[in-house]
Symmetry: C2
Subunit: 501 residues, 2 copies
């Protein structure tokens, strides 16, 4: 062992990392299958298969031998890529080593149980059912935060899992600015009493036709079906099985055309990131996506900044009419208005581009207080409702539309803020593209999506985890995540919408 | 280690065996995915994932520790199930230990290469291209046979992989009788100059309609879609991912209705075996299918003995007409005649119930001579053509329709005879069912497939590998595989067919 040179140790680590990635790929495939084609009763044994392989992956990466290899490799004269890989490997190794296996298993088991109870509680609209499980999850998360360690406050340790090196304080600073600006813009919309004509989206939309139209859009934008698929599911997601095999899913409501279209574009954004990673580095961090906040920036970019733009529908509205002749008598501008309707609502996943972030800010602030010990689970529901009323101006009528609406808290905290970080980063990248490639909507109108994709691929996708998330944002845009870009974008968009007759 | 009791050692083995089965299940899923939904370019990395997990499974089962556990467990006072599991575990352990890893890898690599060359050679109708690879494969197989050891002749060692404890000599005895009887029956058909009216099957059959009809049949027969699926593929297969997740595939030709129907029933038979295994023993031999000759007996039973019977179509012909009105003017008896046309042909997979076995006997005799060193690869093509002419009365016009038609020899020998063993066992079970349940076709006419399935489940499926294949046949039918049942069945069937006006 001590005879290994740092290059040999590094090679060993590459080999192991790749091996475990190949094995994980079968878990990803199985996860995709569970949510698309698995027969109903197949779940009974599937969880066991996942647990066994999951444990194997954990065991392999927490062997002392891995730590020794990292120590040797670190000591060498490394290039940028090697340094980055070792940074992430060491981080993963140390974190996994710190968490005792019993705690890990307790977390997984409690989550599984809590998930089922959450579903029942939501159905029965009864938070009290879920509360003891939420308490247990939060105890586990607090314990993990203590074990992992943190910069300023326990909540930092949880954020770091999804957005490495980001702190709750930095997020709070960003979110506070975004919050006041969002409320200002929301008041602007409210006082305008604008009719967004959402009724033009009502009607019956054949499922097969929707599927065809979504595939049509994907092909036009440049989604490579030799390297990917589109399937149907209940809760849409994107997943990379392996390089050259990236799959997206969507759902089809026959009374709602926008769910499948924008769901597809959202997952396509995630898929573009995965498809654009550097295949040569597959199985090592430099060949993997870097954080949820960056990942979400891509889904939001393609869904909202591109997909909900007027330019996009100037290009595709005639095609949409061919698939759905009911739009024949609807003016393009009115369709554009309808798909961008701003309307505060109880439910996060149904929110528009503007109010979505208020939902996230609410969750972020509550999570932070809970994990830092400033708010007890017993007071959480009231805190939710009070805060919601303050932000939105009305109060949830029940738990289903309030604290029970999201699945996340049955297993995790720290995840939510990455959704809004995604929106913020998307806006920041959007303005950079406009600066470097000229008016992006000119490209969209001409269907030149490839130019946009190639820019993102070169600047973001190909970098993988070479840089930490905020380093990447800095490298691409010249500064860290800054709320002014999203505010500017929303302000422009809203003024445009309000000016439509 | 020496402190383990035999019960503890046995439990350890159960745990390991189950663990590896769960891991294998993800390989099965990936195999299914490759042949159904995987995007075209996905293959590039998938093979690597399979190789890595395959090597892991091999390594785990060949650890000395496994051998030690087996030794301890063997020494105890075991029940029937434990004895059986240990028998198969020891067999697998010893065989895997004997084959050096280099040889294993050489076999896998040569097969992969040979498969691609075979495809090209078949396309170009040029056996010479394939010959050097076939030589190499046969060298490897001969070497493996020597290492594994055998009872009478090297070929035994290869047969044993698919049909444990069966010998070439026993198969030869069975096949010789079957051969002369088949030729006798074939001459009877030839001299009758019967018109099987195969033209009634000609026409255009919408693919979606075929799919619906196949699903309709599966539901009627009792295929549980909560525990299984039907999908489309190029080369149909059945696969169990896990208990409660058994998947079948078929192909649809729009100018041929019988391919999808009988392909589906064939794979359904394989699926029934897998679905009927004892779930409590999943992951151990007693919970697994015992041999290909038994497996194939189930696919042939449901495809031919049930699916191609007059009784079956008495039940379903009106439904078929609803799906495909073109049969409105075709008499049931003529449809029955057409789906049972006896017509010698060059291609095994297109062969009818009678001549199919001649194709197998040809391959069995050639394989036996090649592996036992009595026939060289240089003489194999001529030997094929000579033997074919002797059996069928006409000579292959080219290699595509001759020695290059099957994929099997790009990796294996010893597999082919199990197809005919399947036919023989199916017939033997068929007569036993008639004896124990009364006229099986009465049940079929009433749609009482469940009664038949339950009989097979109790007698065969639930036994898994508790007994060796010939022990199982003996237990179920009172004797080892005996060709007289298949001959009797074919004779009856043919007389019936010839008597139709």
């Amino acid at each position: 062992m001590t005879k290994l040179t740092f290059q040999e140790a590094y090679s060993e680590l590459v080999k192991l990392s790749k091996k475990l990635s190949y094995i994980s790929s079968l878990l990803s495939l199985s996860g995709w299958d569970e949510r698309t084609y698995m027969p109903k009763d197949g779940y009974k044994h599937r969880a066991e298969a996942h647990a066994i392989l999951g444990e194997y992956l954990y065991d392999e990466w927490t062997k002392d031998y891995v730590g020794e290899l990292i120590e040797i490799a670190k000591s060498g004269d490394l290039d940028e890529i090697q340094r980055s890989n070792i940074y992430w490997w060491e981080k993963r190794y140390k974190e996994q080593k710190k968490i005792p296996k019993e705690l890990l298993i307790r977390h997984i088991k409690t989550s599984t149980l809590a998930y089922h109870v959450w579903k029942e509680a939501r159905e029965k609209d009864n938070f009290e059912l879920f509360k003891p499980y939420l308490k247990e999850i939060i105890e586990i998360l607090k314990e993990e935060a203590q074990i992992l360690g943190y910069k300023n406050e326990p909540y930092d340790a949880l954020i770091d899992r999804y957005e490495p090196e980001m702190t709750a304080q930095e997020i709070a600073n960003i979110f506070n600015e975004l919050k006041s600006e969002t409320i200002r813009l929301l008041n602007r919309v409210k006082s305008s009493k604008k009719d967004f004509r959402s009724y033009v989206l009502k009607g019956h939309f054949d499922k097969e036709k929707q599927k065809e139209f979504c595939k049509f859009l994907l092909e036009k934008i440049g989604f490579d079906f030799n390297r990917g698929r589109l399937d149907e599911t209940t809760h849409p997601f994107a997943t990379r099985i392996l390089p050259n095999d990236v799959r997206i899913t969507t759902r089809f409501y026959e009374d709602n055309i926008s769910s499948s279209i924008f769901g597809t574009l959202h997952e396509m954004g995630h898929a573009f990131y995965e498809m654009g990673l550097n295949e040569d580095y597959f199985g090592t961090p430099v060949g993997e996506s870097v954080s949820l906040g960056i990942h979400e920036s891509q889904s939001r970019f393609w869904e909202n900044f591109i997909g909900r733009s007027l330019a996009f529908w100037e290009l595709f509205y005639n095609d949409l009419k061919k698939f759905f002749p009911q739009f024949e008598n609807v003016k393009l501008e009115h369709f554009y208005l309808a798909i961008n309707e701003i309307k505060p609502s109880y439910i996060r996943v149904e929110a528009d581009e503007l109010t979505y972030n208020l939902h996230i800010i609410l969750r972020f602030e509550l999570e932070r207080d809970v994990i830092n010990g400033k708010l007890s689970v017993d007071d959480l529901r009231d805190a939710w409702n009070d805060k919601f009323e303050k932000l939105f101006g009305f109060r949830p009528r029940n738990d289903k539309e309030g604290i029970l609406q999201d699945v996340h808290w049955s297993s995790e905290m720290g995840y939510f803020p990455t959704y809004t970080l995604g929106n913020l980063n998307a806006a920041q990248f959007f303005y950079k593209i406009n600066e470097e490639l000229g008016d992006i909507y000119k490209l969209v109108r001409k269907g030149e999506f490839k130019t946009i994709y190639e820019w993102l691929k070169e600047k973001i996708y190909q970098k993988g985890s070479l840089y930490k998330p905020q380093e990447l944002v800095q490298n691409v845009t010249g500064e860290r995540t800054n709320p002014k870009y999203l505010v500017k974008y929303l302000e422009n968009k809203i003024e445009g919408l309000l000016s439509i007759e």
